[in-house]
């Protein structure tokens, strides 16, 4: 396996999200905040509609890295800033588009990958970055 190189592209992917995904994520994660499934409640607190859990968007965005790396355990660090909610209207939902690029390769061979996540062309995460272990590294 080759070493990481600065500027290397992480293949972009598109991830559709509909209401049922948010209900399933609420159950699996234990985050039952009604802004993520109850349209009436979301609008009462000033949101345009139900919004995705930030942690759902965070989990979705790193897929481009884990698919690219092959081993999800190669993700040593992962951080994001939540800048804009992902609004999920019923029934059409939304599509999160994610791409990535190796910005830095550290002396030990680990890569810092910057991620871009957008919905309808608007960025929904800022400072989204994953630190990835060198290819062919130990699995444990």
């Amino acid at each position: 396996m080759s070493a990481f190189s600065v500027g290397e592209q992480v293949p972009a992917q598109e991830f559709p999200v509909v209401r049922a995904d948010l209900v399933r994520y609420a159950g699996a994660s234990g985050d039952f905040n009604p802004i993520h499934w109850n349209e009436r409640f979301a609008k009462e607190v000033g949101l345009p509609d139900v919004i995705a859990h930030g942690m759902f968007t965070m989990a979705t965005a790193v897929r481009v890295v884990t698919d690219w790396a092959g081993d999800p355990g190669a993700v040593l660090e992962y951080s994001v800033r939540f800048t804009r909610p992902v609004v999920v209207p019923d029934p059409q939902g939304a599509t999160i588009t994610v791409s990535g690029e190796v910005r830095t390769v550290r002396e030990d061979g680990t890569a810092e990958v910057d991620l871009t996540a957008t919905v309808n062309g608007s960025t929904v995460l800022a400072k989204a970055r994953a630190v990835v272990r060198p290819r062919g590294g130990s699995g444990d």
């Binding site: 234990g30 979705t60 897929r63 999800p72 355990g73 660090e77 951080s79 939540f82």
Partner: protein, 149 residues
């Protein structure tokens, strides 16, 4: 109402041990629509060198969200939960979470800052096995919108 600044540096007692189940990992992977076999198939995980299926990079939130709730819902801390939004999240993995892990979480209020009338509270959650092995450190920035005054 501002939060109690004296909470900076305060740690909460370890949470009760949580056993990471193989089916819980599968359920979480299903919920993020990720079909990766390393989250479901022990043989696929072992082929990568792991003892059992591993958890996705953000799985730790299943433990750290309720653990962080100790701070957010602590009446002594004084945060208005109705104004809280999740500002930032960071995970530092010392190793992947593996099915069968028995984990506890210690939450520490690492920082409290004020910016533009908002309070930014950084909580650090240290996930460790009951034997004391560090597994993951998760940092959450919680924003209290307009709570600074």
């Amino acid at each position: 109402m501002p939060v109690d600044q004296s909470f900076r540096g305060r740690s909460y007692p370890p949470t009760r041990p949580y056993e990471v189940g193989r089916e819980k990992i599968r359920e979480f992977a299903d919920a993020i629509n990720d079909p990766n076999p390393v989250y479901r198939d022990r043989a696929a995980a072992q082929a990568l060198g792991y003892a059992d299926v591993i958890a996705p990079p953000t799985f730790a939130i299943v433990l750290t969200l309720p653990a962080g709730g100790q701070v957010i819902h602590d009446p002594e801390f004084g945060l208005d939960y109705s104004r809280v939004v999740h500002g930032e999240q960071r995970f530092v993995h010392h190793r992947p979470i593996v099915a069968g892990d028995l984990l506890q979480v210690v939450v520490t209020v690492e920082d409290i800052r004020v910016a533009a009338g908002n309070e930014l509270i950084t909580n650090r959650a240290d996930l460790m096995t009951v034997a004391g092995e560090q597994v993951c450190t998760a940092y959450s920035v919680i924003v209290g919108r307009g709570t600074a005054s």
